[in-house]
């Protein structure tokens, strides 16, 4: 087992077990799903369960570098374990915790290692040359790699509009590169957790049940709390009010406006029949089509998924966001506004 990976040290692979090279490294170890219960694997299973538990409880994952092979192997096994829980909360939480842990290790790495890890994710990234710009922004990355990760971050500072963009590249400092890498790692792990397995070994199912129980205790009622049961118009966000009024006074709504209003009303529990009533005042009202659209958005037809309204930033892009107020500045989604306003009332 003296295979030293060409680019990374064994220590790196233990710290960043999601790297492509980790897979190369553990291949010769011959890990099989069915092997999980075999001799020597109980240690790996134990550490895998520990990883997942820590993610749920602390949102971070401790590092144990004493037994490096065990540490490296426990990562893919932890992934299997999380997949076996078939629980979206645990999946999200685990990916987040691994990413956060990696991020806190990355800030202490030298530039070259950060580049290497970014290259492992196929980023087009390089160090800013002196001739280019004499500044603390040491890295330049291609805007597509930036967008894949920054587009989902809420803080205004990540908007492409405000970035230091020139000829396709964006200049960044180390802290920001690490933050984007954290996002890349989180998305990468979430994607791997999307995999489906035909069957799980019995041993794994038992542990998965334990983990699920822990998660249920940990999440408590706050995460699962839904929206109020009755429709409270006084708590509508300003954008929805504007659409609601436009609809009531039979103004024409664009496709995205209609979608936003309908999905909002459906999601706060207005029955399809009542939404339909509202649209009846439209001069171009078509009973069959409107009913179809509402039921489609409500998930009563087609793929069965219920659509939620677009988030605030999307509504801004398309000019649907109107009359922003103080509460708007503290939320990112019209449904969050509705929930919050209810609580304030």
């Amino acid at each position: 087992m003296q295979i030293e990976s060409a680019g990374f040290t064994k220590n790196d692979l233990a710290k960043y077990p999601f790297l492509k090279e980790t897979a190369e490294y553990i291949k010769p170890l011959g890990l099989q799903i069915d092997d999980l219960t075999s001799m020597g694997m109980d240690q790996v299973l134990k550490r895998a369960e520990e990883r997942v538990n820590e993610a749920i409880i602390y949102r971070s994952i401790s590092r144990s570098i004493k037994k490096i092979d065990l540490e490296i192997l426990s990562f893919p096994v932890a992934l299997l374990l999380v997949i076996a829980t078939e629980n979206s909360f645990i999946k999200k939480r685990y990916a987040l915790a691994e990413a956060k842990q990696a991020s806190s290790d990355l800030v202490n790495e030298p530039k070259e290692k950060i580049l290497k890890i970014a290259h492992d994710f196929d980023w087009k990234i390089k160090l800013t040359t002196k001739e280019n710009w004499d500044s603390p922004l040491e890295y330049t990355i291609h805007f597509t790699d930036y967008l894949r990760n920054a587009a989902h971050l809420h803080d205004k500072k990540w908007k492409l509009t405000n970035s230091i963009l020139s000829h396709g590249n964006i200049y960044l400092n180390k802290k920001d590169v690490v933050r984007l890498l954290e996002e890349e790692i989180r998305r990468h792990i979430e994607k791997r957790l999307d995999a489906k397995l035909p069957k799980y070994p019995a041993e794994l199912t038992v542990i998965a049940e334990r983990v699920k129980k822990l998660a249920a205790e940990k999440i408590g009622p706050t995460e699962t709390e839904g929206l109020p049961k009755v429709v409270v118009q006084a708590a509508f966000p300003p954008c929805i009010n504007a659409l609601f009024e436009a609809a009531s006074s039979s103004h024409h709504l664009s496709h995205i406006e209609r979608f936003t209003l309908t999905s909002f009303l459906v999601n706060i529990g207005m029955p399809s029949e009542k939404v339909n009533e509202l649209f009846k005042s439209f001069s171009d009202y078509n009973e069959r089509l409107t009913r179809y659209q509402i039921e489609h958005i409500a998930g009563e037809r087609g793929s069965g998924t219920r659509y939620t309204p677009p988030q605030c930033s999307v509504l801004q892009t398309h000019g649907v966001c109107k009359n922003r107020d103080d509460l708007c500045r503290r939320i990112y989604h019209p449904l969050a506004y509705y929930k919050r306003k209810q609580k304030l009332a």
Partner: protein
């Protein structure tokens, strides 16, 4: 009316059946969804898949649709239902249409008629009918030179950003006249294909200048605990554009310009143009000239932003499943074809000659009302309730626009 539609259908037939008609194949044609609008039934056939351009051409010459589209997206199974297609990626596309741009012609050539009460008027279609408050209108719009010129200016701004900020070479940008009142820009770069709707939204926000931050937080005030915000711009991306634009307006603006922008002390700006440019913009000492404060800078910056933002259709670019008109096919509302030309020729490409599909023949039509227009190198009109022998291209356009019918 039937005879006029038949005439147009006949001409579309000739176009699609003519062996010399060139319809370029889009890249990865086999992974795209195709769709077309049937001429007579007005029904959209969707979810079609073709292995090659020759298959597609033979279907077009058999069915002769009024409009042909393909997806910007690539799919594993382009002919499956939407949720089973297997999205693989999509080109980045931009649509600039005069409909979304305020133009100097004020769309005076467009007509609207209320579907409910029949009230009609000219110009921009109102939201509600002044007579009966109905909201549905029949519209007759006209692709005038000023409309297309405005769309061209917006396209020029977009191309400049794609080239200088996003780093695409002009050869990588596919620029088209849409066949009606605007332009399309397609970018097929592989690095862009996998971008999701949120990432594309960020590109849209960049192009339209949405969310531009003009103030930077400085030190937090120890007493009030509030961060001081100072006007500050770096030298890249949008900020480079703002600085150049502000220099330009300060150097050349008239008193009227500054008043319109909302500057209070216009005299100071007019007197100390060069000092303000040197000290404040070039040296970055934004407070360096007494009397020109953050408020003035913000007004100037917002003015420049609105001038330089490209007015694109935001929905088209963010939709990763979008259908877009196919290059080389005819537009059902004009009979002009969607036509590609090199990005560097944007200002020189004349849609009214370059996108003309019907180059032969003349036909007698009864024209109801049309302003003067140019087509295929000829200037025609204005006509009002008269019978005229017109070139086929002009006759097709007028019939498609509902402003003429074939004379018996």
């Amino acid at each position: 009316m039937e005879a006029s539609r038949d005439f147009v259908y006949q001409k579309f037939c000739e176009y699609y059946r003519d062996p010399s008609t060139v319809i370029p194949a889009p890249v990865l044609l086999g992974q795209r969804e195709f769709a077309y609008l049937l001429f007579k039934e007005r029904f959209m056939v969707r979810h079609k898949r073709f292995d090659g351009i020759s298959n597609l051409k033979s279907v077009l010459s058999e069915t002769v649709p009024s409009d042909v589209y393909h997806s910007c997206a690539y799919y594993e199974n382009p002919d499956f239902d939407m949720d089973k297609k297997g999205w693989l990626g999509a080109d980045l596309v931009f649509d600039i249409d005069a409909d979304h741009i305020p133009t100097s012609c004020n769309k005076i050539h467009d007509e609207f008629t209320c579907s409910k009460c029949g009230f009609s008027g000219r110009g921009i279609t109102p939201e509600t009918c002044p007579a009966c408050e109905g909201t549905k209108f029949e519209t007759k719009i006209w692709p005038c030179e000023l409309c297309i010129k405005s769309a061209r200016e917006e396209t020029a701004k977009l191309i400049d950003m794609l080239e200088n900020d996003f780093g695409f070479s002009l050869d990588e940008l596919h620029v088209f006249f849409s066949g009606h009142r605007g332009y399309h820009v397609h970018v097929e770069d592989e690095a862009l294909r996998s971008l999701d709707a949120m990432a594309r939204k960020e590109i849209v926000d960049y192009v339209t200048g949405l969310g531009l931050r003009l103030f930077e937080k400085e030190r937090v005030n120890a007493k009030t605990k509030k961060a001081n915000e100072k006007f500050r711009l770096h030298n890249f991306g949008w900020y480079r554009r703002l600085k150049l634009g502000m220099k330009n307006i300060i150097a050349n603006g008239t008193e009227e310009d500054f008043k319109r922008i909302g500057v209070k002390d216009t005299g100071l700006l007019l007197e100390k143009r060069q000092a303000i440019i040197d000290r404040c913009i070039d040296d970055g000492l934004w407070g360096g000239v007494f009397g020109i404060g953050d408020g003035t800078w913000m007004k100037l910056a917002l003015y420049v932003k609105n001038l330089q933002a490209a007015k694109i259709d935001t929905v088209v670019t963010t939709d990763v499943h979008r259908l877009i008109r196919m290059n080389g096919t005819l537009h059902g509302k004009t009979g002009l074809k969607k036509t590609e030309f090199p990005a560097k020729n944007l200002q020189d490409f004349d849609p009214f000659t370059g996108a003309v599909a019907f180059k032969k023949g003349e036909v007698k039509v009864l024209v109801s009302d049309v302003p003067e227009f140019r087509l295929g190198g000829e200037t025609l009109g204005p006509y009002k309730n008269e019978t005229k022998e017109l070139p086929v291209a002009a006759a097709v356009m007028l019939i498609c626009k509902g402003r003429a019918k074939v004379a018996n």
